[in-house]
Subunit: 284 residues, 2 copies
Amino acid sequence: MLAEERRSQICLGLDPDPAGLGDSITDWVDGSPAEAAGAAVSAHCRRIIDLAGPSCIAVKPQLACFERLGWPGWRALEEVCEAAREAGLLVVADGKRGDVPVSAKAYGQAMVGVTDSPFGPVDGLGADAFTANPLLGEDALEPMVAAAEAAGAGVFSLVRTSNPGAADVEDLPTQDGPVHEQLARMVDRFGDRLGGRESRLSGMGAVVGATAPEHIARLRELMPRAMFLIPGVGAQGGRPEDLGAAFVAGRAGAMVAASRSIAGADDPAAAAEELRAAVWAVSG
Amino acid sequence: MLAEERRSQICLGLDPDPAGLGDSITDWVDGSPAEAAGAAVSAHCRRIIDLAGPSCIAVKPQLACFERLGWPGWRALEEVCEAAREAGLLVVADGKRGDVPVSAKAYGQAMVGVTDSPFGPVDGLGADAFTANPLLGEDALEPMVAAAEAAGAGVFSLVRTSNPGAADVEDLPTQDGPVHEQLARMVDRFGDRLGGRESRLSGMGAVVGATAPEHIARLRELMPRAMFLIPGVGAQGGRPEDLGAAFVAGRAGAMVAASRSIAGADDPAAAAEELRAAVWAVSG
């Protein structure tokens, strides 16, 4: 398992904001504002990967941050995914897509590639895993799971997110527990589809925020095989020491995502290494 | 109101699939497979706009279908949005985005533009409205609503989608009705923010599928001011004659989206015109 090899469960979030990259403007920047910003965003992310990558097992580009720059942003995203692969890191494409089945199929293709185009195969982002939004139900998740299955990739369905407003819908009480527990059961039903070859863990995973750690043990019960992707540590207030229950499934049972607390640190390498050690300590 | 002027409430869905465009391959196609497919997708959509546009008030590009072609797909998307504007049509960018607040802000920027980039302003898609996924709650919708407000655009939040699996989560019973009614209340709470200048209607709208018309009257009660975006007519089985309750709010109270039933017709112009007349007849 990669987690054991690298003694890390850290997923490096990449949420580049051009507003903070003005220092990188030089005389030789050309092209449109979007192209110039796209180039700066690409260079910034590749620098963070170089610095912090050695303490991580994966990167998690936030698609929103690239899309806001239009096609040059999407080109930067492709460059960043490629740089992460070259650095030996997994790519978790964080787009939280969800749509009716025919469109969900296209979102799956965006993540792992199009094979049936008469113009020749298109690679997509080559994601090792991607996030998905389950609001539209099982038939809408299905084509994204199928795309992941065909590509040997994983899916992280939203279950309980890390923002304060998550309670509005995800915590609404139903007859069988809050909505997020129903989402967890849906994730578990897909567990056989992306079954791990090397372990009992499934590549059908769940996004479970670190900011409401009181849910983690219960969600681990409902999804005993799922990989957890845990955002919300650091800038959002979540703490590694509250995440032990996620690792009941083993050291590879969860990835902890951190973005601003690493990329925004004075020393991103040291910040990543500190978080790596803290999470490793609670995972064993 | 544009609906009155054009006597139309039809929103032309653009869901291009490169798999069906092999006939457009010519000797002079160059570039990568993604670039060639992107050019074909752009030409196809512009052709459909030319043919069917006169019977419509808006286009609704499905972002998934463009994204699957990577950056050339996103460039095609920008070309198609521009072509629609030139044809006098509104652009409803259908991406169904949803994320924690800091990322939701970036999604809003992707739709209507980035103004605070030190590299210069970036236009985004220049959308007149865009779809959003409300699973993450009010604080996650807020930045997208704020972006729309600043740009004079509208938002269509998912409330009850048109796919069979919609029942899995959106129809889960809670103490105050099914989940989709709770989503409807959330939409209504944002209604003042995108208040219409010319009418009592709000630009804070809702996606309500035509495939479950039994919900439409109740959802109109809960969201008296919201514009409805109604997919699911045609290929998915919804019928114009079942949509009357949506137009209680006036002729501009809803847009009916159709994709495959127009773009896939032998005569897209006639198919669009037939649907226009059928919807206009039930809206008065």
